[in-house]
Amino acid sequence: MDKLINDFSLGLFVWMGVLFVLLVLLLKKFAWGPILEAVNNREEGIKSALASAEEAKKELQNLTADNANLIKEARAERDAMLKDAREIKEKMISEAKDEAKEEATKMIELAKTSIEQEKQSALAHLKKEVGELSITIAQAVVKKELSSQEEQIKLVEGMLKDVTLN
């Protein structure tokens, strides 16, 4: 310890102190600062480049997934449209069928009624014809019959009988 204190040189201490502190300050300004900053920037650059590459990869993956989804959706939509079209077709056909059936029924009904009417009118006409004919016949018969008294009474009675029966 004694030797250490004896060896201690104030001049060297002062020079060393001044030179070293100066060296630290100068190097800080001209060397360490720029060097550490450059290295730091480089590291940050590498880090961000890696991150953006990762991002791009993820984006690409997303895009591919989106594409697949899009195709899937398109396919589903097409299927749905086809199904709709089929349904519409079937519905239209069945509706048309129903309508036709109804129309036919209606027409048949109409035909039936008109036939009935025709029949009624034909019957009426026939009845009239028959009536007229029978009157004509009756006239002829009556003309002939009424030539005798007895015959006339017989006729009336017979007619009256017929009437009640009708």
Binding site: V14, W15, M16, G17, L23, L27, P34, I35, R42
Partner: protein, 364 residues
């Protein structure tokens, strides 16, 4: 471009000097081959090691004795700056390596054991009972060898890292020396600063942690060159570093840190009173241990390495010298590791102390 040149020229200088220094060792062994100096060799090696561990006022590369037995020093003098009733600046060549008295503006100074004392014209130094000089010591702010190397390393680091920072402006990837340095910087950030301090607060300490790591590492490595650099085995240097760690810890500490020192939560009241002085002591012991650890490790490394190199000259045999050369080589490799390891430990522990200063927790 200019900074590239300066890095290259410094590298070249180191390379050149290492050759010169190797040559020095050879020369020394030749000069001391004489049998009559046998006993002196051990002491001279010991003195050489002691001398190496001290700071010096000149940039000495090596010395030798010429034919007339006169010691010749090869190196450059450095400026001496003293404050002794006024600023006094002169070249250290005036001391002639401690052999003469330097006269400056009517005052006389003498170097004794690598320290400058004020004396009279004859250079008389009086001693106390324990053989310590009693002469007054002027305030000494000399540009010593260590100051020169601190300055050189600071300059090298400044240009090197400034160039590296400039590269990032045009290119996100490091270039040149940055390729080697960036992993280290990232290691300090990701494995020292963030785990110990926390991602929220680490940024404000990064400049200090990075600077202290590279400074200690580079200067430790320089200490392994044959240049004779020994900056981190000066207690003043490690004291500055640990002082900064201490000041940063103390002045950036939150109230949680002070709470843990003066009123430790989660223990009985009586224990808190006992713990407070211990914790206060701990505040100072932590940076103190940093200071001593770095100083002692590097000093020990230098002493052991130089002793083993010195053994080569003592053995002077076909077995001993290669053996100690092998040992010195292995130890040098170990010291290379220690140089980095001590820088790492200093940085790591500093980060740990900063972490304790800004730690936030609600429960305990």
């Amino acid at each position: 471009m200019r900074s590239k040149f300066s890095i290259k020229s410094i590298t070249f200088l180191l390379f050149l000097v290492s050759f010169v220094a190797v040559a020095q060792h050879n020369g020394q062994s030749d000069a001391k081959n004489l049998p009559k100096e046998e006993k002196d060799l051990k002491t001279s090696i010991k003195e050489y090691i002691d001398h190496h561990l001290l700071d010096s006022y000149d940039f000495g590369l090596f010395s030798y004795k010429n034919d007339e037995g006169k010691k010749i020093h090869i190196g450059a003098p450095l400026p001496v700056i003293l404050w002794d009733g006024g600023l006094k600046v002169f070249s250290s060549s005036k001391f002639h390596y401690g052999e003469t008295v330097a006269e400056v503006d009517g005052s006389y100074y003498k170097m004794y054991h690598n320290k400058i004392y004020k004396t009279d014209a004859t250079g008389a130094i009086s001693y106390d009972a324990e053989h310590h000089p009693t002469n007054t010591k002027p305030l000494d702010f000399s540009i010593t060898k260590n100051v020169v190397f601190i300055f050189l390393v600071a300059l090298l680091m400044f240009f090197m890292f400034k160039k590296m920072a400039k590269n990032y402006k045009n290119n996100p990837l490091p270039k040149g020396v940055g390729r080697f340095l960036e992993p280290i910087i990232l290691y300090i950030r990701d494995d020292i600063a963030i785990p110990n301090i926390g991602a929220k607060h680490y940024k404000k300490y990064m400049s200090y942690l990075l600077t202290v790591f590279f400074f200690v590492w580079i200067i430790n490595l320089l200490g392994l060159t044959p240049l004779g650099v020994n900056v981190t085995n000066n207690i003043a240097v490690t004291f500055v570093l640990s002082l900064i760690t201490f000041l940063l810890t103390t002045f950036t500490a939150n109230k949680n840190y002070w709470g843990h020192i003066f009123w430790m939560p989660g223990v009985p009241k009586l224990m808190r009173i006992v713990l407070a002085p211990i914790e206060v002591l701990g505040m100072f012991i932590k940076p103190f241990s940093l200071m001593i650890r770095l100083y002692a490790n590097i000093t020990a490394g230098h002493i052991v390495l130089m002793s083993i190199i010195g053994l080569m000259f003592i053995f002077k045999s076909w077995i001993g010298s290669p053996l100690s050369f092998g040992l010195a080589f292995a130890l040098s490799l170990l010291e290379l590791l220690v140089a980095a390891l001590q820088a790492y430990i200093f940085t790591m522990l500093s980060a740990l102390y900063f972490g304790s200063a800004v730690e936030e927790h609600d429960d305990h």
